[in-house]
Amino acid sequence: MRELTEFAETMRKLPTDVKAADVELERTKQFQLQFTNGKESGGQEASLAELYVRVQASKGIGVLYTQKTRQKPGSVLNEAYEISQYVKGKENIYMKEAAPSETERMQEEAEVKQEEAEVKQEEAMRQVLADTDRKLLKCFGSLLHRELKLLRAEESREIVNLLGFSAATSRVFYNLQATISAEHNGIVYMRVEDTAQTLDSLDVDGLVSQIHDGIVRNMPSVVMKGGTMEAVLDARFVCNLFFMAWKLFSGPAYLQGQTATVGKLGKTILSKQISIEDRCESSGGGFQYALDCEGSPGRNVKLVERGVFTGLMHNLQSAEAFGEKPTGNAGRKTTLSAAVQTEVSVTPKHLHILPGQVSLKQMIQSVDEGIWLTHCFDEFHSLDPASGDFSIPGEGIRIEKGELIGRVVNLSIEGNILQLLSGVLEVGRETCTMPLPDVRSFSVTAPAVHVSEIRISV
């Protein structure tokens, strides 16, 4: 059912100097169960509706975000209009045209049907948590602490604008998160998660296996000299890098000269081993991105093809500047923020770094002397998309003649992301998928990569 019909009608009654206006309603329903050390220890249920309202009059754009959704449409739109009278910016609201194509219309309707079909599966969720806990204990009996959270989320979005455009979409996903601490050559603290469209498709075995591998790799630490060396970057490490590095492929940032890729479209910027796509669905199907916050349907975009920079992620504004169709990447939430993020920019949908043919084990075995980088801390403070320069704290395991020797802690890697990925020799075949921590507005799938050199400080 469309909820913004009254807003659409009221919008037409705004003063005549209004050039553009749009309203987006986002609804979130969440249900979460939690197990702590094998027992159900809590849960959460949430229902949230948020209205994003923008009005562009003769002077500028007024923006109102409200959770007071019972307010009259006229009152909300008028407040946004009043705000616009104080703004003198040159920015415009870019509005989606009213008549969607047949494909878009079908896509929207299919999504709405899915929302109506969903029902709670509380008991089934308890069963999944109990099974996961049993498998965890079987895998590693002496965990100091274990906490499992299983979330079911329904998210819907409806958009109307002054051009008469109206669209709605929704999605459902399940997210299983395991946090453990264990004693194995010191304390190991880990958090891993998996996301899927249905409960049955959650990869519980994969999640348990990640925890097992994480504990086992907590080898005794060794001393290693810093310097430039050959390295294998773990899949989780690569995912973490791209939580910031995706900005290299943002259309608006490219237009404003704020990325290290400016002027390089069509050129080789990375190793031929690297291909990157932004997709509407993740490989495991856990994340779907049907419609962005401007109403553009998501479409798959090739960003890098065998090292060549082939495309950008666009919202309506940057798509128009490049003479291209929007890619369904208009978004607001790029990271956890102190302020509600109301500005429409670009966010990835599901960023996919394509896998290769080589196993992680083979890559490690091929390193004569170097490091397997396993942990990446604080990438949000440590990578500058404008220059590509980074200095990222992390942890790894020293490799000698293809063998893992010991853990190297308190290290940081330094360099430039484009140079680093230009030196990729091999790409792994196993991948890892991670959502943006806390916010979950986009997700990344990545394999491990083998690079010829990286600068390590210890």
Binding site: K39, E40, S41, G42, G43, Q44, E45, A46, S47, L48, A49, E50, G60, I61, G62, V63, L64, Y65, T66, Q67, K68, E79, I83, Y86, V87, K88, G89, K90, E91, E122, L144, H145, T179, S181, I187, Y189, G226, L336, S337, A338, A339, V340, T342, E343, F377, D378, H381, S382, A386, S391, I392, P393, E395, V409, N410, L411, S412, D438, S457, V458
Partner: protein, 463 residues
């Protein structure tokens, strides 16, 4: 507005099952943002955060539900859902039944919502003037500025808390913040950085303080110094953390690991160390949510518990942890008034507030003068807490024979907090200047402050 009688009924409904404690958290927050591109106002955004959360505990089990549908029927339904969720859980041995409990609310400090009229809405023109002043300060600071974006943010959070222990209370937190985002350089060799001036109180207090003008000038000059700085070479030297916001180091290095939730989950290396030496005997670390005029100060925490001063480490000995109600139950020590959350969409958890290293006995000036060779850190951009912590050093100098030799380019310090704390060999005798910042964790982003006197770490591997 939900009446007191309705709040009682909601709490009683929440306790219909096996809950032994219930709480209703109501929030009505208004925020405003104004942005300038250096020459004109490019955006104004008004934000309304409005909703309620219901929290039920049964022993150490917890349920949290929230909604922005704040009517009596919808909150009764929410309470019923929460009670049913708790009832459906498998671990029956925890908690006692709360069936047919009666709640009698006692008003405490109920004056915040009703005094709303005392806080006039600031006109856009006043904020615009402040932004213009800030832009002028930045442009006239001296170094070449390539671009300058200013944002002014203010927030007025009003909360009401009622719980099954009979508490009915309110609080109001006002903050104002200026963000300066600048690109400084000659057009070829540029650096970009943003910094906040974050103060308690509304617009008038912020504008009257005048702190922002000096802060913007200082930021531009420090950015230019960092741009001209030398890359630090790999070394193992003493590191001097300047008085004031150098204490971000302690927030990341050990503060997060002294939050009860890290202790409960066994992530913290301090878990079993209360009463033991965990730091140099020169170090006393406190977290005090009662200090007047700070962004992290409030009369109550987000569970209605009165804020208090908590001594975490005293002369190097671990004294205790920061607890919310739930972790206080699990650890058996009770709440320390540290239950905090960004807003009602988060359940409360243990968080820092104003985290201070108390002044020691070493002479402030002598600490620098007596350094033969080392690094003097004057600005920290942020970091990440944990057993392994990291901080981003944005402003620093190389020191030779007690004098500043040259500025350094930004770099990262990473290390193991517990070993670092034992390497402190000087604690100065006076605190520095500071303002607020945000800390992000499980219950969202909350305002925090840090302060310390000059502190020296005897040896640290950098570069």
């Amino acid at each position: 507005m939900i009446s007191e009688r309705e709040l009682q009924l909601i709490l009683e409904c929440a306790l219909q099952g096996r809950g032994d404690f219930a709480e209703v958290f109501l929030e009505n927050t208004e925020e405003s943002q104004m942005n300038s591109n250096g020459s004109e106002i490019t955006g104004i955004r008004n934000i309304q955060i409005f909703g309620a959360g219901i929290y039920i505990l049964s022993g150490t089990d917890s349920i949290y539900v929230y909604s922005n549908e704040v009517t009596f029927p919808s909150l009764m339904k929410l309470a019923d859902t929460a009670a049913r969720l708790l009832e459906a859980g498998q671990s029956k041995e925890n908690g006692s039944t709360g069936k047919n409990r009666t709640v009698n609310l006692q008003r405490q400090g109920l004056n915040c919502f009703t005094s709303a009229a005392n806080f006039p809405v600031t006109s856009y023109s006043k904020k615009e003037k402040l932004l213009r002043n800030a832009v002028m300060e930045g442009k006239n600071a001296g170094p070449q500025v390539q671009s300058l974006h200013m944002g002014y943010f203010d927030s007025d959070q009003r909360i009401r808390i009622a719980n099954s222990e009979g508490l009915l209370t309110e609080d109001r937190r006002q903050t104002a913040r200026l963000r300066c985002q600048a690109v400084v350089g000659d057009g070829i060799d540029n650096v970009s950085r943003w910094e906040d001036v974050f103060l308690a109180g509304g617009f008038d207090a912020f504008a009257a303080s005048g702190i922002y003008a000096e802060a913007v000038r200082s930021q531009i000059c420090r950015m230019d110094l960092a741009r001209k700085g030398k890359m630090i070479q790999r070394c193992n030297v003493p590191v001097l953390l300047e008085a004031g916001t150098g204490a971000v180091f302690f927030h990341e290095c050990c503060g997060h690991m002294l939050e009860g939730c890290a202790v409960v989950s066994k992530e913290s290396p301090y878990s079993d160390m209360v009463g033991q030496r965990v730091a140099s005997e020169k170090l006393t670390l406190v977290d005090d949510g009662t200090i007047r005029g700070q962004v992290a100060t409030a009369r109550i925490d987000d569970e209605g518990h009165l804020r208090q001063k908590n001594v975490l480490i005293e002369n190097g000995i671990l004294k205790g942890f920061l607890n919310d109600r739930l972790c206080g139950r699990i650890l058996g020590t009770g709440s320390t008034g540290s239950g905090r959350r960004q807003n009602y969409t988060f359940a409360p958890t243990c968080r820092m507030s104003n985290t201070f290293v108390l002044p020691g006995t070493d002479d402030h000036d002598e600490i620098l003068k007596s350094m033969d060779r080392g690094v003097y850190v004057t600005g920290i951009g942020g970091g990440n807490g944990g057993a392994q912590f990291t901080i981003m050093v944005e402003d620093a100098f190389w020191v030779e024979r007690g004098e500043l030799a040259y500025p350094l380019k930004p770099f990262t310090i990473t290390g193991n907090g517990i070993s670092m704390m034992k390497k402190i060999d000087r604690v100065g005798n006076r605190l520095g200047d500071y303002d607020g910042a945000f800390c992000g964790a499980a219950s969202g982003l909350v305002p925090t402050t840090t302060n310390q006197p000059r502190i020296r770490i005897s040896q640290l591997s950098i570069g």
